[in-house]
């Protein structure tokens, strides 16, 4: 019985996990640069911009990602214009946008801490040595910021691995959705719960690999303080 089910389940979970990985990757690709833009906005000396940005960050960080997913996916339809359509592509797009915005806000706070954590004396030492602003940023402060943000970013990135499962709420066919489908019935199999539990292994394996990679990066930056 199990021997017959396993290949079917395994294949379905793999398909689901590819969707999970895609959401993970797209979120990082979008949120890492967008977070920087938001960080600069929240540090702007132009008060209206910094207040607006900080309010936005507060709203996004202060409400559940699940709620944001629901609003972004169902909101347009309720207003009489469902851009997302009914398919998987639309669900993925809506999920990606919600995740990118949400994670960009978290990243922006990490960046802000990293940027403001580099002592002003580093900048001044560069200035006194006749360096341009660009040289000071790229040769002096950037690496110190990266060193500061790598540990908190690692935490967020590991959290993101697991958060992708929230997209299940709008029926994105990620790995949890795939596991759950065998409970209700799919491909002639129904009423089994182990596929759902089995999805846990995917998360464990993937977050384990990331932990090792990010830990390695952190270690490589340990040559200075």
């Amino acid at each position: 019985m199990f021997a017959q089910q396993f290949p079917i389940v395994f294949h379905s979970l793999n398909v689901g996990f590819v969707q999970t990985l895609k959401l993970f990757a797209v979120t990082l690709i979008g949120a890492i640069p967008l977070g920087l833009v938001i960080a600069f906005g929240s540090m702007s000396r132009f008060r209206p911009l910094s207040i607006l940005t900080r309010t936005f960050v507060w709203i996004i960080r202060g409400t559940p990602l699940m709620l944001q997913l629901i609003i972004i996916y169902y909101g347009p339809g309720l207003m009489g214009n469902n851009w997302w359509g009914g398919g998987e592509v639309g669900r993925f797009l809506a999920s990606a946008i919600a995740f990118i915005i949400n994670y960009a806000c978290y990243f922006s706070e990490i960046y802000r801490g990293g940027i403001q954590g580099v002592p002003i004396g580093q900048n001044e030492a560069g200035q006194v040595l006749g360096m341009t602003k660009g040289q000071i940023f790229f040769r002096v402060t950037l690496l110190q910021m990266i060193k500061r943000i790598v540990p908190p970013m690692s935490n967020e990135i590991i959290t993101l691995v697991k958060d992708t499962s929230l997209a299940r709420i709008i029926s994105l066919q990620e790995v949890i959705w795939a596991g759950q489908s065998f409970l209700k019935g799919s491909q002639g199999i129904s009423g089994i719960i182990w596929p759902l539990f089995f999805t846990g292994l995917y998360y464990l394996l993937f977050s384990g690999i990331l932990t090792i990679l990010l830990g390695g990066l952190e270690k490589r930056l340990n040559y200075f303080r």
């Binding site: 004396g121 001044e124 200035q127 006194v128 040595l129 060193k147 200075f224």
Partner: protein, 264 residues
């Protein structure tokens, strides 16, 4: 002709006037010590000369073999552009109280970073890159040797003691061959047993006729090393002259009062 002339330099932070018209001049090869109580404006004066702060008004003029350079003149807005400032500040070097070494570079890397970046801007950089790089490296090593740190060239700042870090910072400032080297309390952040090695290095520079301005609370050192001493109080120069006069026979009551805090 004095190598440095500061004329009626003023600096305000909002409504707070921190420098109230500072004027002095410095001859080439002289060491000038600036003493004064906390908050009298010594750091602000050094920061204005290095353009970490923009003066509010006055003039700063440097005279070198290459001619007269007006570094700052409140009447001449050309001295206020970012690129002019970047060029002008190279007449000065600044050694900070807190060293401010770049942690991700070795001692040698700290010393050679700015010279390397300047070399890249040269028109002949492409043809001579390797030779220039070697020259910069050798000069950096020579400077570290002069600081007694030849064997520490490959160390990162966190692997060095405070005294060693400050000596690297001095080498870093010297690498750009400034006309005038400024020190802002170079030993204040150091454990007492480490001040000696840094003061010895500065003394060595004075013996070699390096033109220097030293803000310090080390009175004995100021007495031994400087050709001129300025006593500042409340944003003004109260008294200036040779150390034997200002430190031993001050004319002003305020100077005497200040020095009394150091004799016992």
């Amino acid at each position: 002709m004095a190598i440095l002339q500061v004329e009626n330099l003023r600096k305000n932070f909002e409504s707070l006037e921190v420098l109230k018209g500072i004027s002095f001049s410095l001859e080439k090869g002289e060491a000038l010590s600036i003493i004064g109580s906390s908050g009298s404006g010594k750091t602000t004066l050094l920061r204005c000369m290095n353009f970490l702060e923009m003066p509010s008004s006055g003039r700063i003029v440097v005279n070198t073999a290459a001619g007269e350079h007006v570094l700052y003149d409140d009447q001449n807005t050309k001295t206020l552009s970012e690129s002019a400032i970047r060029k002008n500040r190279l007449h000065f070097g600044l050694v900070f109280q807190s060293f401010n070494l770049f942690p991700q570079y070795t001692a040698l890397g700290n010393v050679t970073l700015a010279p390397r970046l300047q070399a890249k801007a040269r028109p002949d950089y492409k043809e001579r890159a390797a030779a220039l790089s070697r020259e910069i490296e050798e000069r950096g090593m020579a400077l570290l040797g002069q600081m007694g740190l030849a064997d520490r060239a490959g160390y990162y700042p966190h692997q060095l003691s405070g005294g060693q870090q400050q000596r690297v910072a001095i080498a870093r400032a010297l690498a750009l061959e400034p006309d005038i080297l400024c020190f802002d309390e170079p030993t204040s952040a150091l454990d007492p047993e480490l001040t000696g090695e840094v003061l010895r290095v500065i003394r060595g520079l004075a013996d070699k006729d390096t033109t220097m301005i030293i803000v310090t609370h080390e009175m004995t050192f100021a007495h031994d090393v400087s050709d001129q001493v300025i006593f500042m109080d409340g944003g003004n120069i109260v008294e200036q002259g040779p150390p034997a006069q200002v430190l031993e026979n001050p004319r002003e009551e305020r100077t005497r009062q200040f020095l009394r805090g150091y004799t016992n």
